[in-house]
């Protein structure tokens, strides 16, 4: 009984989830740091940041919104949103002048996938931080 009430009190959200999710978006693992989950936050930061940096080092091109047929719209808007999900990593690289053109080559292709993958993994981290902040998960 005492354990059940202790678990329930741990699951009650103690703060608003909005700053947690915003910080989790801007800094991978930042939401977990704010919620004092330092180990998990550190691993998320390491994984997403290294993946993003590998994408930059492979000279992967960023996606830009592009109109056209349905498949083109889905790929380019989706890719842009996934790149954007990288948060400050994305903004910093763009502000510092990273503008890799889309050229042929498997390394460039993998680079683009690493950049998109890092953003998508950061979305998973944001959802995890939101679940912790709202008490759905400890």
């Amino acid at each position: 009984m005492a354990n059940a009430s202790a678990t329930a009190s741990e699951a009650v959200p103690s703060r608003s989830w909005v700053p947690v999710v915003i910080l989790a978006w801007l800094v991978p693992g930042g939401g977990h740091f704010l919620l004092k989950r330092y180990g998990r936050g550190g691993l998320l930061l390491l994984s997403v940041a290294v993946m993003f940096l590998l994408g930059l080092m492979m000279r992967g091109p960023m996606f830009h919104p592009q109109s056209g047929d349905l498949l083109t719209v889905i790929i380019y808007y989706g890719g842009f949103l996934a790149d954007l999900a990288g948060g400050l990593l994305y903004f910093l690289s763009v502000w510092l002048g990273y503008n890799q053109p889309d050229v042929a080559g498997h390394v460039h292709d993998y680079g683009a996938k690493f950049l998109v993958g890092a953003g998508l993994l950061n979305i998973l981290a944001m959802v995890d931080a939101w679940e912790i902040a709202t008490g759905k998960k400890n």
């Binding site: 998320l44 994984s47 993946m51 080092m57 993998y110 998973l124 959802v127 995890d128 998960k137």
Partner: protein, 61 residues
């Protein structure tokens, strides 16, 4: 920033490694379960990598 050149195998293994770490962290509740799930995810990635690689090789002729 240095330019990195990787093979298909290196790139996919790196992708699998970091994806598995994040998937392990966000989908399980205890550290032990996270470690097990992360390792299992990585194994699935590697199996799928070789399976799809062979399918493409055989389909290509």
């Amino acid at each position: 920033m240095p330019k990195l050149s990787v093979t298909h195998l290196e790139a996919t293994l790196l992708f699998a490694l970091f994806s598995s770490i994040v998937l392990g962290i966000v989908t399980r509740k205890t550290d032990h379960e996270r470690l097990r799930y992360g390792i299992r995810c990585f194994a699935y990635f590697v199996v799928a990598l070789f399976a799809v690689g062979w399918v493409m090789y055989l389909a290509h002729g």
